[in-house]
Structure formats: C-alpha cells, structure tokens
Symmetry: C2
Subunit: 888 residues, 2 copies
Amino acid sequence: MAKTKAVYQFKEGSSQMRQILGGKGCELSEMTRIGLPVPPGIVVTTEQCLIYQKTKKISKDLRAEIFKALAYVERQVGKKFGDEKNPLLVSVRSGAPVSMPGMMDTILNLGLNDKTVVGFAKNTNERTAYDAYRRLIQMFGEVVLEIKKEKFDKIFDSVKEEHGRKQDIELTVDELKEIISKFRHLVHEETGKGFPDDPHEQLMLAVEAVFNSWNNPRAITYRNIYKIPHDMGTAVVIQAMVFGNTGQNSGTGVAFTRNPSTGEKKLYGEYLINAQGEDVVAGIRTPQPIEKMKREMPKAYKELERIAKLLEKHYREMQDMEFTIENGKLWMLQTRAGKRTAAAAVKIAVDMVKEGLINKEEAIMRVSPSQIDQLLHRQIDPSVKVSPIAKGLPASPGAATGKIVFTADEAAELGKKEKVMLVAVETTPDDIHGMIASQGILTSRGGMTCHAAVVARGLGLPSVVGCEAAKVDLDKKTLTINGKVFKEGDIITIDGSTGNVIEGEVRLIEPTISGEFDTFLSWCDSAARMKVRANADTPSAAKGARKFGAKGIGLCRTERMFNDPERLPIVQKMILSETAEERKKWLAKLKEFQVKDFYEIFLAMDGLPVTVRLLDPPLHEFLPKLEELLAEIAELSSKKVDERVIEEKQILLKKVRELQEFNPMLGHRGSRLGITYPEIYEMQVSAIFEAAAKLKKDGKNPIVEVMVPLIGNVNELKILKPIIKKTADEILAREKVKLNYTIGTMIEIPRAALTADEIAQEAEFFSFGTNDLTQTTLGFSRDDAESKFLQLYLSKEIYKDNPFEVVDYGVGKLVDMAVKLGRSTRKNLKTGVCGETGGEPNSIHFYHGVGLDYVSCSQYRVPIARLSCAQATIKEKQKGKIKVSKTD
Amino acid sequence: MAKTKAVYQFKEGSSQMRQILGGKGCELSEMTRIGLPVPPGIVVTTEQCLIYQKTKKISKDLRAEIFKALAYVERQVGKKFGDEKNPLLVSVRSGAPVSMPGMMDTILNLGLNDKTVVGFAKNTNERTAYDAYRRLIQMFGEVVLEIKKEKFDKIFDSVKEEHGRKQDIELTVDELKEIISKFRHLVHEETGKGFPDDPHEQLMLAVEAVFNSWNNPRAITYRNIYKIPHDMGTAVVIQAMVFGNTGQNSGTGVAFTRNPSTGEKKLYGEYLINAQGEDVVAGIRTPQPIEKMKREMPKAYKELERIAKLLEKHYREMQDMEFTIENGKLWMLQTRAGKRTAAAAVKIAVDMVKEGLINKEEAIMRVSPSQIDQLLHRQIDPSVKVSPIAKGLPASPGAATGKIVFTADEAAELGKKEKVMLVAVETTPDDIHGMIASQGILTSRGGMTCHAAVVARGLGLPSVVGCEAAKVDLDKKTLTINGKVFKEGDIITIDGSTGNVIEGEVRLIEPTISGEFDTFLSWCDSAARMKVRANADTPSAAKGARKFGAKGIGLCRTERMFNDPERLPIVQKMILSETAEERKKWLAKLKEFQVKDFYEIFLAMDGLPVTVRLLDPPLHEFLPKLEELLAEIAELSSKKVDERVIEEKQILLKKVRELQEFNPMLGHRGSRLGITYPEIYEMQVSAIFEAAAKLKKDGKNPIVEVMVPLIGNVNELKILKPIIKKTADEILAREKVKLNYTIGTMIEIPRAALTADEIAQEAEFFSFGTNDLTQTTLGFSRDDAESKFLQLYLSKEIYKDNPFEVVDYGVGKLVDMAVKLGRSTRKNLKTGVCGETGGEPNSIHFYHGVGLDYVSCSQYRVPIARLSCAQATIKEKQKGKIKVSKTD
C-alpha cells in the first residue's frame, strides 16, 4: 500500500511540488491554483513511477486511487469516463521534474470506443469524434502496443489516396470510419488481441506505458548526456480533453508573453482555427500570427492577453504558453519559461526591472554568458531560411560572408579591397597577416584548439574549423563540398556559432549594443565584486577594449611592439650587439617607438590602470628560424652573391645557434632577460615613464603598473625592483611630474605561487598568467600538446575541458594558494588574472571564489566577463563560497 | 658598573661557558677544572667586548676587575706583574665562541720593559729574556700600534746580516739588545710617542686591541662568509707566560691524541726543544716527531700521554693539543677537537665505539658526508708534496693521472690501451664514449653544473672544469698553462676534490673500503629510518649499486636500453610504423632484448625491490636530429646515390618533422606515450614479468615495482593501470608463478603533487623525480638554464644552491604537500625520491623530515646517502622535526 498520497488533483498541487508532480503537472496545478481556466485533471506522482520500476505492475491501491480521483474530475466537467451518452475523454502525458522534451510518451483521447464515440459525436460533431477515435487507436497502437508507425500511416495514406483526398481535413466521416475499422484490424493482426475497448483498461495501460517510457533507451541516453539522475521518475498527468477542432469557434495555439526574438513586450505566437494542438506543430496547415486572433476571436484573444499578463506577474518571467479554444472558451494547457534569443533575453531582463517585476540581480542571472557572446558578433538574419551545405566545428562565433581565397598572401592582398574568406586545410603562425585581412576562416582540419580557432577567437573573427566535408585542393585552388566545386572568388558564408557553411551570400545582421545592453552591462558592473580589464598591446586595441567596457588594461605585452616590421631590424641589431654599450645604442632607437606606443595606450586608457609587462619572450624569437636561415645561406652561396652578404648571414647564424634552446618555454626569458641585460628593462621603463610624464603634463591621468614577467624567486625581484624604481623616479624627477605607480609580477610558474608569501614582500600586485602557469603546472607545452595529444586527452576525458580554456583544478589550487600566501605578507595585495581563462565564465566564477580583484581578457570577451563577474558575485550571495571541483 | 661578572679565573670556568668565555677561554678553564697543568690565567667575557664596541673605552670598573683577578694569578705563580725582581709576564689572546682561526690578534710577553727584563733575565737567562722583549715590542708594535710588520723585519734582518747571523738563534744578547733599541726607536718614530713601559698600560692597550680586532675588516668578512653572527663578541684570555725556550730541558709542541691521517690510536705530533710555540708553526726549524720525545724527555712524554688519555676520556673525542715544557715541567696551552682525514674520521669513530668512549649514534654524527665522498675516490698520496700549476673548479671528486688527449674519439680509442686524460674546452653529449674511456676530464670552460661536471659525477670520474688558466688549442692539439705547453701524450694529474692540476704523474692511493668503513656504514643503515636505493639501468650498474650497499633500485630507466646501437634501428622502425600492427612486430623484437636486461637486473638485485620506469622520453629522441638529417640528405643528393636511399631518408625526415616539438620537456612523453601507444607499455610490462617469472622459477626472489612516468592527472593512471595489470597478470597466470608487484608513479610535474590525493587512489607508490619536478616548478629547462643563466643566478645568489643539486625550497614544498595529500588517501603509500638530489646530504635531511621511505641515487653516492639518512634520523631525535628554510 502506498504510504504517501499517490494521486493529486490539479487544485491540490503547486509549482513548489515539481519533484513529485513533475514539471507539467506542477505548472498545470499552479495555473489551476491561481484560478486560470485549465481543464481539470490529476497527477500520479513520480514516487509511483519509481515503485513501478521495481514491481512492474500497477497495484490495486493505485488503480483505485486513480479512479477515485478521476471521479472528482468527472463531477467537475459533468461527464463520465466510459459513459456512452456523455463520455469524458482524457489525455495521458508524462512529465518529469526536469524537462526532457520529446523523450517520453503522450496519448490523447482515451475513453473512446465504438460505443462512447457515438455519444461523443452527439455532444460535438461526427467528424470531430471519429477523427479523435482514429487518432486514439494510432497513438495507443504505437505507444502502448508498440506497433510501427509506418503501418498506421500506410493504411491512412491508402484510404486518402483511394478517395482522392489531399488534406486530412477533406476526409469524410465514412472515410474516417473506414480507417478506424482498418486500424482495429491492424491491431488485432499485430497483437493477436483486439483493441482494448474498456476505457478503464485503456487508461491503466496508458499509465503503464508512460511509466515504462522513463526507462526507454532514448530517455536513458538523454539523461546520461545531460547528467540527469536516473532515480527521479516521471509523473503522469491525466487531464480532461478539450477540443480545438469542433468548428470555426474553436482553435489551438502557442504564444509567448513577449517577442522571443526581440524581447518586445507584446503577445507573440501562432494559432489555427478548428485544429488540435499537434496540427500546429506538424506544419500541415500554416498557422496564423496571433495578432489575427484579435480580430477573428476577440473574446478569446482578450482572455489570452489577460492570462499572459497574470502569468508574467505570477512567474516574474516571460512565458511560453499552449492553449486551446473549445467552442469559444479558452483553456490553458501549458505554461513555462520561454526560450529566447540573446537580444530578447537582455531586453526582457532590463524591461522587467523597469516594470518592477524583478530586481537587477534577478535580471543579471537571467542572461547567460553565451548569449552575450552571440550579441557581440554578426549573425545570420534569423528571418532568412538557410540550407547549410556542410557543417564543421563552431570555432569562433559570428557569421561572415566573403569571396574564397586559398592563401594568406592572397587574403592579405585582396582583403584590402573586398571581403574575402580564407579557406585552408589548416593555418600556421605565418598566415596571421592573411587571417587578419579576412572576414572569416574555414579550415578542413583541426579541432576547437587548433591554430585557426585560437587565433580567430583572439581576433574576434568568425571561424569554422575541422569541416571534413570541405575538400581543399591548393594546387587546383578549389574547394569541393559534396561534389560541388567552388573556385577562387566564389562567395560562401560561414556561421562560427553553429559551424554551418552556406553557399553564396546570406543577409547578416550587425551586432547591436543597444541601449538595453549598455544598461544591462552597467548593472553587471555595479553588482560585480571583480573588475574586468582587457589584454591589449596596441592603441587601437586599447580603444576597442574601452568601448567594450574594460576598466583598464591587465596585460600590455611590450614584445608585440618589437615585432613591427619597421622595428624588427633594430631589435635584431640590439641582439647581435657584442657589448652593453652597443646594445644601449640600439635600445635608444627602440625607445623612441616605445614612448609613442605607451603614450597612445595610456591616452586611450586615461584614468584607468594599465599593466605594462616588460619584455618576456626569449631573444631568439626575434631572429630567423635556424632551418630557414640555413636554407637561405645555402641558396645565397649557390648564387655567388657578394661575400659580405653571406658573411652577415653567418654572423646571424652564429647568434641563432648560440641562443637556440631545447625548451624555450622554460628558457632564457622573462625576468631572466632583465637580470642578464638590465639595459633592456631600463629602456622599457624609461619609455613607459617618459610617455606617462608627457601625458600627465598634457593634463591626463595615466595610471601605470609595471609588471615583471616570469618571476620564480623573490631574489629576482629584489634585484629588478630597485632598477625599475631608480629609472622611473629619475625620469619623474627630471620631468618634475608626480605619479604614483606600482611594481608587480606575473605569477606564471609554480614556484612563484608556492613562494608567494616571499614574492609579495616585493611585488605590489600579482597577475596570474594562466597560459604559462598551466603549461608548467601540467607539464604541457601548449603548441606541442594541442598538435600531439591534447585532443586524445579530451576525447578520453582525462581532462574534461581544455585546461588552456577553462582553469584546471591543479592550476586553480596554485592560484588559491598564491592569493592566500601573498595576502599573508601584503594585506592589500592586488590580484588579477591575465591568461586566456580570464574571459571564460566557469573560470571567472572560480577566480571570484578565490578572491581575485580583477580578470583581464581579450577585448571581445570583456562584456561576457562583465556578466560573469556579476553572476559570480550574486551566486556567492545566494549559495555561499564557490568551490572548485576536483579532477573529473 | 658591570652588573654581571666581567672577569673569570680559569678555575671558575668550564666548557659549558663557551658563549661568554669563548672557545679558548672555556677549554683552558675546563682543563684547569679537571686538574691539568695549565698556566693560570683569567678571561674577560665576550659581554665586555660588546660593551666596548659601543663605548670604545675600557671602564674603570673593568680595569679594576682585571687587575684584581690578575692579583690572584700573581699569587698562584708567586710573581708580580711589573715587578722588577720577579716579574709576571702574560699573553693576551682573543677567543670567540666560534673558532675564527687567525682572524684576530695575540700578544705575548706583556709585562716587559727595560727594568723588568733584567729581573726576568735573572730568573731565566739573558738570551730568553731579551729575545722575549724584542718579540713583545714587535708584536705590540704591529697589533696595538699598527706599525707595518715589514719595518720591524727590515731592522731585524739588517742586524742579522750585519753580524753574519743566519739563524735567529745565533743572535747574541748584545745583538738582541741592539735590535730592541732600534725597535724602540722605530716605535717613537712611527707613533710620536715612546713604547709604553708601564706594564699596566701595555695590558690595557692589548685588551683594547683584541676588542678592536673583533671588528677588523678581515674578521667581518670571515663572519659574513661563514654566517657567524656579528653580535657574539670575543673574550680576552690573559694568561701567565711559560717559556719553552729556556734551554735544553724546555720545549714546545703540538700533538693529536690519535693519528689524524690514519686514525691509529697513538700519540701523533711534533715538538721542538728550546723553542717557543710560534717557532713550530713558522717552520724556521724542523720539528721532531713526537716519538722522539719519548727518549729525549721521557718524563714530559709520559705526562703528555697521561693527559692525552684523560682529555679523550673527558671530551670523548680525538684532541689536538698545544703544550710547552718549561724547565722539564709540561704545561697545556690549548686543546680542541682535532681535524682529521676521512679515513681517520671513520676509524676513530668506530674505534671509540669499541673502546666504549662513545655510542654508535655519536660515531655516526662525527663523520661528514663529504668525508665519505673522499673515501670513495682515488686520492693523491698525502705524503707526496705536490705543486699545482693551475686550479679549476672541483667538479667531480677523486684524483686521476693520464696522457693528454684532445678529442673524445681519441680518448675512446687510446683509452682501451692506456690511461688517458680528456682535455677539452667543454664537452657535449656526443663525447660520452670518450669520457667513459678516460681516467679524468679537464675542461677550460664550464661551471659546477656544466655537461662535463654532471656526467663525470654520474660516472664517478674525477673532473676539474672551468680551469681558465688552461688554454686549449684544438687545432694545434696543445694545452698551455702559464706559458708551459703540453702536447698530446704528455702526462698530467688532476685532483677533482680540490680543483688542482699537476704536471706529470703523482702517486695515487686507491679508495679502501676498510673493515671499519663497512662496520660504520652498517651502523648507519641500522640507525637510519630511510632506506637507500640506487638509480641503475644496466646489470653492471645494479651489481655496483649492491656493492655500495644499495637496498634496491629506485629508478631503472628502460629507455637507456633502447639506445644501444644494436637496438636503435629496431626502435626507429617501431617509430616509423604506420599501423599499430606493424609497431607491434618491431616491439616484439625489442622485447627479446628487454627480457634479458630485466632478468639480469632482477638477478643482481635478488630479494631487493627494483622500480622499473616505463618508457619516458619523447620518441624523436630516438631519431636523428633534424639539422643533421637535412645535411645528410643534401650530401646524399649531391652525390647522386641510389634514389631509394634518399627516399628512405625522406621518409625519416618526414617523421622527424612530424615529431618535432617546441618544448620536448613538456611534450609528448611519459605516460602520454603510453596512452597514445599502449602497445609500447604492454611490450615493456610483458618483458618485465616474463623476466621476473623466469627468475622466480629459477628459485630467485624478484621484487617488481612498475613505475609510470609523468603522471599529471589521476585519469591517466585510471587508463594505464588496468592495461599494466592485465598484461602482468596474464603472464603470471600463463607461467603459473605467484608474484606480488606494485604499480606506482613518478611525481615529476607540479599538478601531480597538487593532486596527489587523487593520484594516490591509483598509485601504490610515489617516486619524486626531482630533476623534472625542479624544471617544471622553477620553469627552468636544465640544459638551457645551465648554459644560459644559471651561473649568473648562482653568482648573484638568487638561488643559493644549484636547485638541480640541492632540493629547492619551492620544490620541497610540493614534495611535502604531495606526501601529505597522498597519505591522506592511501595510508601506507610508499614514497621515495629518485632525482639527483636523492644523493645530496642537505636534501636527504629534508626528505627525512617530510617522511619519505627511501632515497635513490647514483651508485657512487650510495654510501654518502646511507650516512646522511642515519644522520637525519639522529638529528631529528636530538632536535625534533627538521624544517626546511625559506628562499635565502
């Protein structure tokens, strides 16, 4: 005997009872409770489903309880289940506590048989009744008796054809009866028994079928994918049927309380007159926009409007509703929070705050970071219907259209004049000039972390990678997709948010940072504890970052300035210098450039902090590669050019060999360069402070943070900090400018984190360089790992996420430790992160949890980070301290 | 007024009062206390020195206290300080709590002037008296009045010359008086004042001079170097003089209670008749061996023997004594623990335990690990006097003699027939065959961690590196040292323990692991908590390790077996295989070799555990280097050889390019290979267990531990452990052999240490690979760091020790963390270290402190490690838990 209540009337339930009544059952109950017109019904609890999984039969007690509850429904509607004169028809639907759309079963029109259909026909009309009957037999046959759908369809289509009917609605009552007779025959043939005419038997079998559907293979798979527990069970909703197909005063439809594409506050949806719910979904007849209902069924429309308003007020959320109008009377069949586009999500959240429906924190929690990502890229106009010709990995979001080019050089050349799409097997660092000049990138090889993907995300360029259907022939300069050949200059479109590849041009819509979006992000800034900065190395990137709402620069890499074609020869001469004196001469030339760079960057970030990192990469990165140089010398030698030219190359070769490293990642770089060649850092610090001093004199407010890279031992800072301080103070004194500045370090090798208490004695701030910290902590050379074994590791779930994208548990442990140790020495130590994970929502939640002051990421991720920082703060308020989970 | 006692009589002090009486003062007190014949004296405390440093003058109170105490001395010896008839003469010496030999000042014969010298002469003889007087004026002049030594020497030498005297002792009394007169004149000339004739003034000035000497520049430098606190101060010892130069019944000498070279239990030392202490040291007259005294001064000798025995019993330690015989009476002037050779240290320690003087733990603490190191290498016979012609860095201990060769190839060739010495600018990995064939290695470049040094230490080969005076001309094949040219075939000798380079052959003595040494090390094993294993990759290394007392193998690197010239082609074919099937074919061939290797290694270590590490290095290490291969192909192409040969090379080239890595250290290696190519690990595990099974059937007892390298994530072990287990168990089942084995991992990347609790769920043991763990934790590529910046870092004391030799603080923190985390999951987790620091004494103390079960090191360091493990255990008993200090 069931000890707890096994069956609930709708009016006994509420939305609080999702766990035992399921999603559908509890929301129908909730609507009933607040007085909305819902066809009466009952819910068999999820607990009964779990009991059934063990016993595999429905107990007498449960059966009795169901029919006792159904009797109450009968009284409410004044009909009787199985009654030949005035039969009650019911639907049976599954409804688990967590939505599993389409995974489990539904049966409509239960209670019909050859006798009750006659009574039902009298109360409605013959067509409605026999149409309902044939639907019952098919659904019941498929779901309960497991007869193949095709067998029913074959009969149905043959009768239609025989009588020359094109539309289902053209079938006459007699033809429907013919179908029913043939369906009943099919059932007998397939099961060896007749169709169960006893409505009570029908109902019990239907309930059992729903219980069984909880463990059908597709439901189990679905739960595994979405990590839904298998021991929840589903509830069964048994509800009195209403019919939208009883004539021109009936109908059925779906509606959103607001426009799910734009967020506009206006009913949005579709309906069909004289139709049942499934007809809207099936697409056999074209539904009408909901506005038309205002004219055609004004009373029902007004009622729907009233209910929509009431539901929004009740749920404080935009609703997606299903309804049926039976002979002019509106019945609500479902309501739930409505799915929406990114733009709509933001607008609705902002509007609802303005309407007083929700507060700002609730608004912030209703928009997901991935929606923000969508908003920041061009999209294919959603009103355009597209037919993709291939699908690859959605490597970098946004859509792009352009003329096909097959090499980076061509892209760089043509890209100046027109929109080009770079199509390649894969890309390499040598292709960057072409990638920058393209609208988007399509590659046939590579995973989500391949070169093209990583660079495209960094540049904010749409990209589809690993599109295996795209065969690229670089010799013939053709792209072949499923036999169709595209040549250079042909236009294609890619959607980096979905991975779709589309032939020709498609209308794109520009990302609009609308007024609501701005408002929304400013609320995020107010709510967030952590600040968001950007990684930016150029004045234009700095300006872009500020536009996206960055509150400063967290990482300005000075070496990027060295790579400029105009400067590289000077850098090389500096490296080739035999003496410190000679080196200083070339450094002085470089300084002129750097002063200008810093001036413009500080100007773009006027009033906001800029963290400038001193030279980091090993010097050999600025020289030609050994293999290339050897080839060049071999060629020059064979051509008998001027000996002095070759001699010069030989000198270069000697230096390249001298500087060659086995493991450059762990080599002579960062602060190690600064200690070996203090004159390089002195030049950079001079440039920084000369620029800042000039700006200050120009009435601006530069806020300078000097960052020393790759510190592993406090003694390194003990040597470098005084050099930096002396250089800076001398310039400020000379220029008679007062400027507060700080000197800090990147924490990017484990020893720095492990000895952070010592390092914080000298460092005024820590910036976690999670890219390098991940490489050293995991022992992963990123370039090698991503091309050699990381894909395998991800596919085997050794690491659940790419540790270069989402902060790894081990790395996180070091960050946590370093923050605690650092603050044990320097209470007001400023801490931030400037690695790639600084713009990734899950990582941001972690960084919030360990108490960082800011995150810094590429400018395109700044808005996402602003939202994530706000959500982390709010989540912590709600749930307490955020913890990072262990290795999966 | 001084609140504490400022001046002590010897008889009031003891060896417990070192802090306030200094080393010399307290030991003189101690000897007095136990009734030995010590000339009476007093000690001014170190506290008074510290007061003096502030006031820069001696207070009236202190002066009064000194003379009051001195009065007691006067009464004891029956003489009076300053008395013209029977004057007391005293010496004034410094004596800090910590020995600072020769750093501070001494003045003898205080109390003499023109008048007292007459009385003194009457009591002794004129020569003694005037000789003492001239010594006083010179010493006082130099030390107190700061007159240059040369000025006194010039006068002294001119008088000697004028009178045709060769030896000091030939000077007549008149000549001495002439010197005294000239000395007094010099003093007046230099200071503008006369020599202070008042003995009381002499004494006070002398005490002040000693106080001042505490802060003379050389004393400050000495304290900085040896990390002696600057706020200790020195005591001042004022002692009645005794004279060994009063005639043939007087003398002076030094003696050890046992032979400091051999440890033999027999008085050992030298003495001079009719001489003062400084004459023995100065080497002007040749001292006699102490045995002679037995005949010449039998009474005094017997007394010395009695005292020596008494002192050893009292101090329970071998003593180094100074004595003077004045008119037949023996006076003790100093005693302290005697310095000794390594062999003597071991013998004395063992003998003293047998004699019941000390216990085993004390014996263990009396031998230093560096002494053990000396015992394990050939030494230059200490009885041979050598004159080094150059000095380099003592890179690898031991002495070696051989004919000069300048290339590794020649060394390899000639080394088969005769003893050769490899002389080079520096060495590279390509030189190893030549290094192995040499007696020793001398390089002109490189530091303590250069290639030659590291390899030589690993091989146990004597080596001197960075010998800048040695100019190597490889073209001319000459070695030039200070103008002297050596050619190929000339013989030189190097001493890798001192860095000395000596011309020609020098007699060497073989390391003798004497009976005492064996006994001593076996006591160490009993005392030690940690076990010592060896890193050994070959059967011969395994045998050697066992001979040195290793209790198993902590690291057996299987890749070393791959590098054999016979096997490398098979390894390359395995790597070039296109399919797993093909790869398995070549692996099967390799297995035959590996089975044999493992069989012999397990046999050598019968009954002791052997940790076998599965393949670790990236596969490209087994292929030719890219640059070399390119050159080879270019040459082949130009020669128009068979196209198929070039084609084969092209295939190899393609693979080399494919496997090339930016940072091999962080690349596709270790367990990552095992996950990518499980068939490689399967082959290795098969070989291990087939060998073990065979051995077991042969009645032996192999103890196998399978070690998976480079684990960073427990999921890697979750994949690999079942593969290893399945392979092993199948073989054991097939061979019907029962064998317990364990599967563990190396902890060599930070993430492994940080997530050790997770990893210990799978791993049955941890072996810390500190070489790689140091590389990743510090972000140092060892090869790059040592050639690029590590020397600079050590010279700037950024790191006090080379972190690859002595465990670094940050790395240690990870080890500590990993042990704790690992044991939180698996209580009985076995932990050890197999990196280079596993054989280094300071590191061993640390590893003991964090609770490791064993250390593993190269066979040559096993005895040192055995001692260090014992000392760590004993130290912990004495002082409690050992803590590692922070970054210096």
